[in-house]
C-alpha cells in the first residue's frame, strides 16, 4: 500500500463504505442477522465493565434464585440470579467476554502456527516437510478433545495453559492448506518468478504468497472459530476449562445444570448465547466461503 503506483490505480478504489455495501448486497437475511449478533457479542465483550449492572462475583444472599424480570422477578436482576444471588446478566456478559477471548486467541494462535508450519514445510521440503506432515496426520487422526483432556490431566490447569492448548486446536488444517497452496504456487508461477528475481523468502511468502492465499485462510478462520467456542465451552462445562472464580459460558451452563428444576435461567441464557454465536459464525462462514472461494466445499 501507499506506493505511488497504487494511486494511479484509483478506478478500482471507491470509498470503503461504498465498497463494503456493494459487497454485502445480496447477503441473505439470516447472514445479516448473524453478523448483527456477532457485532453485538463483540460490543458486549468490549464494554462489559461499563454495561454490566453488577460485578460478576458479587453475592447477594437475600436475592438467591430470583427469576428473570419477565417472569415476575425483580427489575434489579433482569435475567434473574443464581443460587448465591449473583446477577445472571452480569455473569453472562463477563462470560461472553471470556469465551470470545479464549476462542479468538485460540483461533489466532492456531492460524499463525499452522500458517508458519505450512510455509516451513513447503519451503524446506524433504525431511522437514515429512516431519510436519507426520504431525499434521497425527493431530488430524486424534480427536482433539482427547488430546486436550490428556494434557490437562498431566499438567493441571491454568488460564495461560488453557489458551495455549486451545491454540493447538485446528492448526493442522491451516498447515495443510498453506503447504498445498504454497507448493502449487511454487511449482510453476509467480512464486518461482519472484524467487528467481532474487527475492528473499520473506518477500516471496509475505508479499506474494500470503496475500494470494488470504481468502482461503479467512474462510478457514470463520469455520474454525465456532469449533473453538464449542471446545472451550464444552471443557468449561465439564469443569476442566476456565476455572472459578473466572467464568465462561460453558461454566455457567455446567453450573446451572444443578438447578435445572428450580432455576432454569441460570443454564438456559448462556446456552442460548453459545448456540446463537456458533450458529451465526457458521452461517457467516458458509456465506463467506461461497463468496470468496467457491472451490472449497
Amino acid at each position: 500500500m501507499g506506493s505511488p503506483l497504487e494511486i494511479t490505480a484509483a478506478p478500482a478504489r471507491d470509498g470503503l463504505l461504498l465498497r463494503t455495501r456493494r459487497w454485502m448486497a445480496g447477503c441473505p437475511i439470516l447472514v445479516g442477522a448473524g453478523i448483527a449478533w456477532l457485532l453485538a457479542m463483540l460490543a458486549i465483550a468490549l464494554s462489559v465493565d461499563l454495561i454490566a449492572p453488577y460485578p460478576y462475583a458479587q453475592i447477594d444472599l437475600r436475592a438467591r434464585l430470583a427469576p428473570p424480570a419477565f417472569l415476575g422477578g425483580d427489575l434489579r436482576h433482569v435475567l434473574g440470579t443464581d443460587e448465591l444471588g449473583r446477577d445472571v446478566m452480569s455473569r453472562l456478559f463477563y462470560s461472553i467476554r471470556m469465551s470470545l477471548l479464549v476462542a479468538l486467541l485460540g483461533t489466532a494462535i492456531g492460524a499463525v502456527i499452522g500458517t508458519l508450519l505450512g510455509f516451513v514445510a513447503a519451503h524446506f521440503r524433504g525431511w522437514v516437510d515429512d516431519a510436519v506432515m507426520v504431525m499434521v496426520d497425527f493431530q488430524a487422526s486424534m480427536p482433539f478433545m482427547i488430546i486436550a483432556l490428556s494434557v490437562l490431566a498431566f499438567f493441571g490447569n491454568s488460564l495461560p495453559l488453557f489458551i495455549a492448548l486451545m491454540g493447538l486446536f485446528g492448526w493442522e488444517r491451516y498447515a495443510r492448506l498453506v503447504r498445498g497452496m504454497t507448493l502449487s504456487a511454487g511449482e510453476h508461477g509467480y512464486a518461482v518468478a519472484v524467487r528467481q528475481l532474487g527475492a528473499s523468502p520473506w518477500r516471496v511468502y509475505g508479499r506474494h504468497i500470503l496475500p494470494n492465499i488470504a481468502s482461503a485462510l479467512i474462510v478457514n478462520v470463520t469455520l474454525n472459530f465456532p469449533e473453538h467456542i464449542i471446545l472451550e465451552t464444552g471443557l468449561s462445562f465439564l469443569g476442566l476449562g476456565v476455572q472459578p472464580p473466572l467464568t465462561s459460558l460453558g461454566n455457567m451452563v455446567g453450573h446451572g445444570r444443578e438447578y435445572l428444576q428450580s432455576a432454569w435461567w441460570i443454564a438456559v441464557f448462556p446456552g442460548v448465547a453459545i448456540v446463537l454465536t456458533t450458529l451465526s459464525m457458521s452461517l457467516v462462514g458458509d456465506w463467506l466461503r461461497d463468496r470468496l472461494d467457491p472451490t472449497l466445499r
Binding site: P143, I146, S150, F154, V275, M281
Partner: protein, 310 residues
C-alpha cells in the same frame, strides 16, 4: 498391492508409537511418575518397589524401552483412586459406552446418509433446505447444550423420560438422540456434497444422455462412487466414538468411559487417562486402517495412484 497395505500398516504403527511416546514424555515432564501413578499418599515402600519395577533410576532410553515392554504386557499402571489396575477399570466401563455409542452410530448412518442422498437428488427443494438447516444446527449446537435443553423439556417439564443414569432402556433415549442428531447432520451434509460432486461428473451426464433410467444412473453409477468418501467419514466417526462420548456421558451421568475420563482428568488420575488415551488412539488407528483397506478393496485405482498428497 501388498506394498500398499504394508505401507499403511507401517503408518498405523508409527501413529501408535507417536502416542505412546507422547504419553511417556508427558509423564516424564509432568512430575515424578511414581508419585503420579501411585498417588502421593501411597506407602513409601510401594513407591520404592514401583521405582525399581519401572526402572526409574535407569537412563531415559532404558526407561523408554521398559515402558514399551510394560505396555506390551498389558501393564498400564494403577489407578490412584482405588488402587486397581487401570486397564481393568477402563474395560469394565467399555460395555456401557458401547451400549450408547453403537445405537447412536446406527442413528447417524441410517438418518444421515439417506437424508444426504435425498437432499442431493432433490436439490434446492424445501426438503434439501430443511436437511441443510438441520445439519448447520448439528454443527453449531454443542452436545451439552442440546442435551440440557432436552432434559429441561422431556425430563423436567414433561416428566416423560429420566434425566440421567443408566438403569433402563428409557435412559438411553435422550443420549442417543443427542449423539445421533449432531452426527446425522454432519454426515448428511457430507453425503450431499459428495453426491452433488459425483452427479456433476461427465460419466453421469453421459449415462443420462444415453437414456439410462435415472433410478439406474443413481443406483448403479452415482451411489457406489459416493460410497467411498462417505465410508472414510464413517470410519472417522467410529474411531472417535469414545471421544464423542465424553461430553454427552457427562450430561446424562452415564457410567461409561467418557465420564470416567472426565473424572480421571479432574482427579489427575494419570494412569486411567493414559489407558483411555491409548484406547482412543488404538480405535482411531484400527478404524483408519480398516477404511484404507476397504478403499484398496473397493477402488483398485487407490493402490497405484494415491500419492503422498492423497
Amino acid at each position: 498391492m501388498i506394498r500398499f497395505f504394508a505401507s499403511k500398516l507401517l503408518r498405523a504403527f508409527a501413529t501408535i508409537l507417536f502416542v505412546v511416546t507422547f504419553a511417556f514424555l508427558v509423564l516424564r515432564v509432568s512430575g515424578d511418575p511414581a508419585l503420579l501413578i501411585m498417588g502421593a499418599e501411597a506407602p513409601p515402600d510401594a513407591i520404592a518397589a514401583f521405582r525399581a519395577a519401572w526402572g526409574l533410576d535407569e537412563p531415559l532410553w532404558r526407561q523408554y524401552l521398559s515402558y514399551f515392554a510394560a505396555i506390551a504386557n498389558g501393564d498400564l499402571g494403577y489407578s490412584m483412586r482405588d488402587r486397581r489396575p487401570a486397564l481393568g477399570l477402563v474395560l469394565d466401563r467399555l460395555p456401557d459406552t458401547l451400549r450408547l455409542m453403537l445405537p447412536a452410530l446406527a442413528v447417524k448412518i441410517l438418518i444421515g446418509v439417506p437424508a444426504g442422498i435425498y437432499a442431493a437428488l432433490h436439490r434446492d427443494t424445501w426438503i434439501d433446505r430443511t436437511t441443510m438447516a438441520f445439519s448447520v444446527l448439528g454443527y453449531s449446537v454443542p452436545n451439552f447444550v442440546l442435551g440440557l435443553m432436552l432434559v429441561l423439556l422431556f425430563a423436567v417439564n414433561l416428566r416423560w423420560l429420566p434425566s440421567g443414569g443408566a438403569e433402563t432402556w428409557l435412559h438411553t433415549i435422550l443420549p442417543i438422540v443427542v449423539l445421533g442428531t449432531a452426527g446425522a447432520g454432519i454426515l448428511a451434509r457430507f453425503t450431499r456434497s459428495t453426491m452433488l460432486e459425483i452427479l456433476g461428473q461427465p460419466y453421469i451426464r453421459t449415462a443420462t444422455a444415453k437414456g439410462v433410467p435415472w433410478f439406474r444412473v443413481v443406483s448403479w453409477h452415482a451411489l457406489p462412487n459416493a460410497a467411498i468418501p462417505t465410508v472414510t467419514v464413517i470410519g472417522f466417526m467410529i474411531g472417535s466414538l469414545i471421544a464423542g462420548a465424553v461430553v454427552t456421558e457427562s450430561v446424562f451421568s452415564w457410567p461409561g468411559i467418557g465420564r470416567q475420563l472426565v473424572v480421571a482428568v479432574a482427579n489427575r488420575d494419570v494412569a486411567v487417562v493414559q489407558v483411555i488415551l491409548l484406547f482412543v488412539a488404538g480405535s482411531m488407528v484400527v478404524s483408519n486402517l480398516a477404511v484404507d483397506f476397504l478403499y484398496g478393496w473397493l477402488d483398485p485405482r487407490v493402490r497405484t495412484t494415491r500419492g503422498k498428497e492423497g
